[in-house]
């Protein structure tokens, strides 16, 4: 709510006009029965002039109401769009201040939903609030008061009708709430079954399980249909019941007016407008009830957005840290790391020193912590305990700009952004020249296909980089990593889709062109790190071996096990 209030502030003027228009609109529909009553009175009194003036007043009132309705819509749309756009912009800014850990915690997909669907829900909520939720209470209260003024004798009919409708809707909604929870669960289950049978369609078919799957699905779907029917029955009862209540109220009013008509002859002119007010009250309750169920959905979205706004980034940089030229040294001092929510540490008590210009290979089984270790160097996460130093500076006290300049991280799953190739390379060095592009592409072995494009580095990257093969994506992503000549280059299994020959060329080019750069290479294939100065062997988050290939073969049984699985069959070399 607080968030909504803050974001509504800039639109105070528009909100004011929107509410003003709503009041005029509601007032017009409230006043109409009054004028009708005047007309009836005039007819009874045979006052032609009165009939005419009241008739013209009626029409004028309706036109005013109509115009007010349109004005209200325009302002309401302006406010809801404005709030939605501001919410999106601010939320996006907030997300961009997040650490990678923050983002993982929400999950990227989830954040996208909060940026899109949830903001949409709120926009609709605001629109509905300004259009309907402000009108309904005015109509309800106004019609209530005017009904009492019109036929004060029959005050108890109005109150009785309201109480009866509210009470019976309470009963029905309570019943329905129970079933709605069931429905949601059943719908989720049904969709899960459908999704699984799609993803596993080859398994289902090759095991001849089509009938069993259909039976499983049918049982679930039948249950869903059963609960849907029950809810349908409840609705079928509810609406006619409400209608009946209002009908009885109308009948009773006419009867009592007829009963006392001799004592109160004016009631004859009032009965029609009294009934109109009864109906307005009736519809106000109905629409109000319906809208509040819609509104509750908007509030769920609001809560989800609030969670984003209230998250504090867990990696922050000291603004007073001086910008320095960092060297390529990397030091881990007793570093342990546990992912949020996990109990087992992903890295346990790791210490090492890497000198500038060294090439380090990291090997180990899946889940041994290779990527986790690498991610601590560009500070995607902070270690749970211990310190990571880059260029001799503790990451917790480092200047962000300096760190970004020093470290380049090339991911295993290459990510390119839609736009031009040059746009992507420029992410590694904002003022890169065409010569820089060419050099980077040469190193990454990307030049051979980029130069084949007529538009070269201006060639477009489509959405999801669908126009590049896995190997091409990896090569472009390496080019982005090397274009800024970083002090430290981390390659996280980033040549996995390259054939052995290209991989070798990349390595040779890196050795030549980036001789002074510290290179940290994570690899599945031992052949990729064979010539590293040192190889780190990780096992279940521990550093269990450090040394060059030959030494490790002799000293590290885990390294040897990995090696054995990849070794060529003896003798045929």
């Amino acid at each position: 709510m607080q968030i909504l209030k803050e974001h509504a502030k800039p639109y105070r003027r528009d909100i004011f006009f929107s509410i003003l228009a709503v009041m005029v609109m509601a007032g017009a529909s409230l006043w109409q029965p009054r004028l009708l009553q005047q007309v009836m009175k005039a007819i009874i009194a045979d006052n032609q002039h009165q009939v005419l003036t009241n008739g013209i007043a009626l029409i004028t009132l309706a036109v005013i109401g109509l115009i007010a309705g349109v004005i209200n819509t325009i302002f309401a749309a302006k406010v809801s769009q404005g709030i939605a756009a501001d919410l999106r912009a601010n939320q996006y800014r907030k997300i961009q201040s997040f650490s990678y850990g923050n983002i993982e915690k929400f999950s990227a997909g989830n954040l996208v939903v909060r940026m899109t669907n949830d903001v949409n829900q709120i926009q609709q909520l605001v629109m509905m609030f300004l259009q309907t939720l402000t009108r309904i209470p005015i109509l309800f209260v106004g019609a209530f008061i005017l009904a009492l003024i019109t036929l004060p004798r029959l005050w108890w009919i109005v109150i009785l009708m309201v109480i009866l409708i509210v009470l019976s809707s309470q009963v029905v909604f309570k019943q329905m709430g129970k079933y709605f929870a069931q429905i949601q669960k059943l719908i989720d289950q049904t969709n899960t079954l459908a999704k699984e049978s799609l993803q596993g369609v080859r398994v289902v078919k090759s095991f001849n399980q089509e009938e069993n799957e259909t039976a499983r699905f049918t049982a679930n779907s039948d249950e869903l249909a059963r609960v849907n029917t029950t809810i349908g029955y409840l609705f079928s009862t509810m609406i006619p019941m409400f209608m009946l209540i209002s009908y009885v109220a109308i009948g009773a009013s006419v009867w009592f007016v007829g009963h006392g008509v001799v004592a109160h002859p004016d009631d004859l002119a009032a009965i029609t407008s009294f009934i109109s007010y009864l109906m307005q009250i009736f519809f106000a309750i109905m629409i109000g009830g319906m809208m509040s169920t819609f509104a509750s959905r908007g509030f769920v979205s609001l809560g989800r957005i609030k969670a984003v706004f209230e998250t504090t980034p867990d990696v922050t940089y000291a603004s007073d840290a001086p910008e320095v030229d960092l060297s390529g040294d990397v030091t881990f001092n007793q570093v342990s790391f546990t992912y949020p929510g996990d109990t087992q540490p992903a890295l346990a008590d790791i210490s090492f020193q890497i000198k500038a210009g060294e090439m380090i290979g990291i090997v180990g089984a899946t889940g041994s912590g290779k990527t986790t270790l690498a991610q601590l160097i560009p500070r995607l996460y902070d270690p749970t305990t211990g310190d990571v130093l880059v260029g001799g500076v503790n990451l917790k006290k480092i200047n962000e700009q300096s760190l970004r300049q020093a470290v380049a991280f090339v991911l295993q799953r290459a990510i390119l952004f839609s736009g031009k190739i040059s746009d992507n390379l420029r992410q590694g060095k904002s003022d890169a020249t065409p010569a820089d592009f060419q050099r980077a592409a040469d190193i990454a072995q990307a030049a051979e296909f980029v130069n084949r494009y007529e538009d070269g580095f201006d060639h477009l990257v489509e959405e999801r980089s669908a126009n590049f093969s896995g190997g091409q994506k990896q090569r472009l992503s390496i080019a982005r990593g090397v274009v800024g000549t970083p002090k430290i280059l981390i390659l996280d299994d980033s040549t996995s889709a390259l054939d052995a020959r290209s991989e070798k060329r990349v390595q040779e080019a890196l050795d030549q062109e980036l001789a002074g750069t510290t290179k940290i290479v994570i690899a599945e294939k031992i052949s990729s790190v064979l010539h590293a100065d040192r190889i780190f062997v990780l096992d279940e988050g521990r550093l269990v071996g450090v040394g060059p290939h030959h030494e490790l073969l002799a000293t590290s049984p885990i390294y040897r096990e990995i090696y054995e699985t990849q070794k060529a069959k003896g003798g045929d070399n």
């Binding site: 609109m25 699984e196 095991f207 779907s221 609406i239 952004f417 052995a500 064979l530």
Partner: protein, 593 residues
């Protein structure tokens, strides 16, 4: 129009069995409408009688004979109409809600059943998300429309006609006045709807672009953070956001305007009716009492008359969605199903082996993938298929158990074309372990017994042991009763594949196809999978699509596939000696000193 026809056809298919109930609903709805439009007549009559009574009562000459009886009669008749209207509405709504819940259930099951019978081609050429939206969005839209729109349309239409009919019965002049604004209202509504639709298309386009940007940026956040691109990303977002704001504003104004506009027009119409009504009474020399009653009647009618016009727009939107959904579902129903030959051969055991003869195949008619492939797997042999990505390895697997059919040539089991076998018996004897393992919601036991739900626990455990996964399963707190689903992280990728190997072992297939997992499996886990595979392969005829050469070393024969053709074939030693493509592949992957 074509869409509409297809949609109607779809509805017809599912609704025809309810013709009796639907007919009843129509009749009851008409009755309900009749009572609804008849009630105001009696209300008007009551007012007329009351005012007449008052007039007579006040007049000393008729004071004694003044009677309220006609008033009470009219009131009684009105209440009867009201009561019957509510009762009939209840009945029709009761029946129709039952029909719509049942029908949409049948549509859901019908869709699922259809999907089970369709060819793999459909699933390979349509995104899962798109197919899933048939369940989540299209069926939902149809259900909503049936619940709220279709029967609404019926009753609103009946109301519209009923009101017009009654109005002309009451007073022709006032009836014309009430209806005079209709063309204008419809014109305005139509204009607003068209504008709204046009702008909503623009809005969807802009929103799509913005969502694309958000999606790409947030999913690429690792790059954004490590390259320090946050500010650039925020700056890049602004124009997308602004564009959406601009586009949505117009769309929202138009779509939001519809209701107040119609509401306002209805009020205006009411005002005009009252104005003319009273003018008629005063100038047309109508009896005052009758005139009062008439105005009461027309105040009611003019409100009820506009109700369908206001409602029809929201009904129209719902129907539009339902028709689009029904059309899509209808398209799915027309998709080809798997062909099972009548009186097909029963595959019992494998006698001689499996053979691909001059197989030509392409997923699209103009793009052939396999160009005359010959492969022979003798009974009891293990044949390894190797080759670069895109060479057609997985395609061959697709042909072996008839996920696809060859365009030319033949796949034969014991010399009989696979297309001549009964599909179920073929698949019963061909076991498959896929590259990407799938888990289904249920217990671990359910998943292993997937292909043979009736298998005993002893058999299941034996299968798990052979697949090297038993020890891990019993180490879980709930063992075989552990609940899993495809997203759960109980099993790693490698373990999932071990589980699917166990699943296949349990069905004891005569012929086995193994597609090795490549991603996210390190070489040590791979060695464990290898051992499990060796267990399954032992004593069986098998076909392995190998990505890592370790697997291949145990093969009786290696077939090298490249660009849809067999380029080399033979034992490991022979192929290495040949120093051809295989030898190079082998050198690329292995560590040499």
């Amino acid at each position: 129009m074509q869409d509409f026809k297809r949609a109607m056809h779809y509805f017809y298919r599912y609704l025809k069995r309810y013709w009796l109930g639907l007919g009843f609903v129509v009749i009851v709805t008409i009755l309900s409408t009749y009572f609804q439009v008849k009630a105001p007549v009696y209300m008007g009559q009551a007012i007329t009688e009351l005012s007449r009574y008052l007039g007579e009562y006040m007049n000393p000459a008729t004071h004694a004979t003044a009677s309220k009886t006609p008033f009470y009669h009219a009131l009684e008749a009105m209440m009867v109409c009201f009561g019957l209207s509510a009762a009939t509405m209840f009945i029709s709504s009761f029946i129709s809600s039952r029909i719509s819940a049942q029908t949409s259930g049948q549509m859901r099951v019908g869709l699922f059943g259809k999907l089970q019978r369709m060819t793999i081609k459909y699933f390979d050429t349509h995104q899962d998300g798109k197919i899933l939206s048939l369940f989540t969005s299209d069926l939902d839209n149809i259900f909503n429309a049936m619940n709220q729109a279709i029967f609404q349309l019926l009753s609103q239409l009946a109301l519209f006609i009923g009101v017009i009919w009654m109005m002309f019965g009451q007073n022709v002049k006032l009836a014309w006045v009430t209806m005079a604004s209709t063309p204008l209202a419809i014109l305005i509504a139509w204009f607003v709807i068209v504008q709204a639709r046009k702008n909503i298309n623009k809005q969807q386009e802009a929103t799509g672009e913005m969502n694309g940007y958000i999606n790409e940026q947030i999913n690429g956040e690792k790059i954004i953070i490590t390259q320090g691109l946050q500010q650039a990303s925020i700056a890049g977002f602004a124009p997308y956001n602004e564009k959406v704001k601009q586009a949505t504003f117009k769309g929202q104004v138009y779509s939001g305007m519809l209701f107040p506009l119609m509401q306002g027009l209805s009020l205006l119409n009411l005002a005009i009716v009252i104005f003319f009504g009273s003018w008629l009474v005063v100038h047309d020399g109508m009896d005052k009492a009758t005139g009062l009653g008439l105005i009461v009647v027309f105040v009611n009618y003019s409100q009820e008359y506009y109700q369908p016009i206001t409602q029809i727009t929201s009904i129209y939107n719902m129907l539009q969605l339902a028709i689009t959904g029904a059309k899509r579902l209808s398209d799915v129903h027309d998709q080809p199903e798997e062909v099972n030959p009548a009186n097909g051969h029963q595959l019992t055991t494998l006698q001689t082996g499996v053979q691909l003869e001059q197989v030509h195949f392409g997923y699209q008619p103009d793009k052939e993938i396999l160009h005359g492939v010959d492969i022979k797997v003798k009974k009891g042999e293990m044949v390894a298929l190797v080759g670069p990505t895109g060479s057609g390895k997985t395609t061959i697997m697709n042909l072996l158990n008839r996920f696809y059919d060859v365009t030319a040539g033949a796949v034969k089991f014991d010399g009989v074309d696979v297309r001549d076998f009964d599909l179920q018996s073929l698949r019963d004897h061909v076991g498959i372990v896929l590259q990407d393992s799938v888990l289904f919601t249920g217990t671990v036991a359910d998943n292993i017994k997937f292909g043979r739900p009736e298998a005993s626990d002893e058999d299941m455990i034996a299968a798990a042991q052979q697949a090297n996964i038993h020890d891990f399963i019993v180490s879980l707190p709930e063992g075989y009763a552990t609940k899993v689903n495809d997203e759960s992280s109980v099993f790693s990728t490698g373990q999932k594949q071990l589980l699917s190997i166990a699943r296949t072992i349990l069905t004891n297939p005569a012929f086995l196809i193994l597609d090795e997992a490549t991603s996210n499996v390190d070489t040590v886990t791979e060695a464990r999978i290898q051992a499990a595979m060796d267990n399954v392969i032992a004593g069986r005829t098998s076909f392995v699509i190998a990505h890592r050469l370790k697997t291949i070393l145990g093969a009786d024969k290696i077939v090298v596939l490249k660009d849809g053709q067999v380029i080399e074939e033979g034992s490991h030693e022979a192929l290495v000696a040949e120093k051809g493509f295989y030898a190079e592949l082998y050198h690329n992957q292995m560590v040499f000193e």
